[in-house]
Symmetry: C3
Subunit: 273 residues, 3 copies
């Protein structure tokens, strides 16, 4: 019942605290508003705990982490845990630098995450200490294919079991898995990787879906991933010959804004493994 997941976002309008990078932060704010949630950004240690206290969920994205904001991530994450607010981790660029890999691993150790969402290279860097990431994009060698899907699902379930988090791996096929079940999601379009921040946007939106659907973390995360992919398809169909990645970016957020629970239910393409 993916439609219910979206309905609950629209009705409950969860307020999401974002400690995120300055590259895609505006898109994260607008997609949160588009899906029915509400964003607040605050990254100073002097207010991170207090801000997260008035919110319904927390989205930690390490895309442009720095010495000033890292302590805020830990402080907000721990406070959110104490209050029972769901916390999402987007380990942008894990594997690309020690600072990113180690910060993400320490976060996972000290904060309980409802969802960890990244591309396959980032998740591998965290699960296997395998640092093959090419910047913030998945390395070609890591990419999930039809042949490697079963092993990727097993890998995701295993990492979910070890962390107690729902693991979302974005790619040609998205995987959303807990320790027992995995959604293999075939929505989306390859050109989404030509826009900066579709992953960051999905993480922010996932925070809203999770916050509005506590107790249904796996379904909520899968619904958010289906919504993002489906809106990537809807937006793609809207494109004219003159449009490029800038218009595509805006069309996706527009599609999230207009997406109905019923359209999500009908448009979601996934199987369970």
């Amino acid at each position: 019942m993916l439609s219910e997941m979206l309905e609950n976002v629209r009705v409950r309008r969860p307020l999401i605290h974002n400690i995120t990078n300055y590259v895609t932060v505006n898109d994260c704010a607008n997609i949160l508003l588009a899906c029915g949630g509400s964003p607040i950004m605050a990254d100073d240690a002097d207010e991170a705990e207090e801000i997260t206290s008035i919110c319904d969920g927390l989205n930690i994205n390490i895309g442009t982490l720095n010495s000033r904001t890292i302590p805020s991530m830990f402080a907000a994450g721990k406070r959110a845990n104490e209050l029972g607010h769901p916390v999402i981790l987007d380990p942008v660029g894990a594997g690309a630098s020690k600072l990113r890999t180690e910060t993400a691993l320490r976060l996972i150790e000290e904060v309980k995450f409802a969802v960890i969402r990244g591309n396959i290279s980032e998740i591998k860097a965290l699960a296997l200490g395998n640092a093959s990431a090419k910047g913030v994009d998945a390395d070609d060698e890591d990419k999930i294919t039809a042949d490697s899907l079963d092993s990727a699902v097993a890998f995701a379930k295993d990492f979910a079991a070890r962390t107690g988090s729902v693991i979302v791996i974005s790619g040609a096929v998205d995987i959303a898995a807990d320790s027992r079940r995995a959604y293999c999601i075939r929505n989306g379009h390859e050109d989404m990787s030509r826009i900066t921040g579709t992953g960051c946007q999905l993480s922010a939106m996932t925070a809203a879906y999770i916050a509005a659907n506590q107790g249904n973390e796996l379904e909520a995360a899968a619904a958010a991933a289906c919504a993002m992919g489906l809106c990537g398809e809807i937006a793609k169909r809207r494109m004219t010959a003159q449009d490029g990645n800038s218009s595509y970016r805006g069309y996706i957020i527009d599609a999230i804004y207009n997406l109905t629970p019923d359209e999500l239910e009908r448009g979601a393409k996934y199987e369970m493994r």
Copy 2:
């Protein structure tokens, strides 16, 4: 004569120094260019005073304030006061954390603001020490209705008298007030609240209007609020079934770009109280 206020922005092309949040900063820069002004962003204490010296006005927005930028706000604000440059305060999220409320209150104590602009919850947090803000959006309980408009106007005039600033309260009805007179502005569309940063954009644009119309602070602030609301209406009429908040955001800036002084004069809907 709201049209003159805009004409003066177009002719004088005021350069506005912005110390603002990283969420909506690009939109603030583009709306300043759209209305006829020119933006510069600089938030380091090592240059804040010098940058503000070459500008015509200063816009301080505490949306993602931090330990490094707060001192820059004070330094730039005081220097702008010395030079007679108008200074605008957008107390984003005042009431949502002690850091925000106290920083905004200290700023009001130590810097003379030409205009303070926020939503009703933010302004109440500053005027009454009433911290009911739900994040960066106005709390439903605070919202101004037909019934409460008279008392909101009295409240705005009172806070204007105490601070010596023009007070702009954004909402379904916008109020722009000094201690004696208030514009009650009925431009705008409720969907503007589904875009991140329309308030931030109005604050940045208000800085340009004030800088180009010194001595006419109330009229200039009212003109900027009318322009923003009117362009929200114009942009709304442009929307197709596929458009959402992302397109709406761009259409509003486009409309500000194309707005003529005459259209502003004819389209502004307000009464004085």
Copy 3:
């Protein structure tokens, strides 16, 4: 053979490390993706050297430089030099504050830049110690006209000789010069100056062109400038009466996305001096 320059970007997909301002960073990321490159943003001293090591080029933009990011610029720049990665400098606002002018001059002293790109006021501030910049835009007095083009070309070649960098001066006529030859580029549209960050975007894109065409720095920089100007023209033709600077911004990135090497070759308008 400007077309080859673009073809190489598309084939080699250079990964560009950006230490850049938070105003236009999203546009820089999207234009890098649009042209065929790939962006990563990282500005903390604890990872700047490591991130630049996995990249193909480095883009340093001082648009919102601060005490935390300045050391990262030096560290990343020196490391990129050691590795033979091309480094680009965009001295945004040089001349507008001591911090900007002195940081840019120190960077030029300590880091070897493949390209330095700015407007005429910024480049003059660095070459002549002439601080006439009006904020981040070129001062009217400095602007290059038909009469002053020859002397501007001589100035650019001289500064190129002194720095060993290709110098790109953006304006009504763009100049891309090494110590011996200069492209005088007549692509572009004056309304591009009504969008924030077209200069920043060109610098980011230039980094991708240079990284994909090592040994051909002058041609690569000229090709990037022609591409930006040409796409400014293409985007301008796409505009409707309702469009303004926000739509124009998106249309330019879209045009970069759709630009073919052949269109670049045919549309580039330049002469050598």
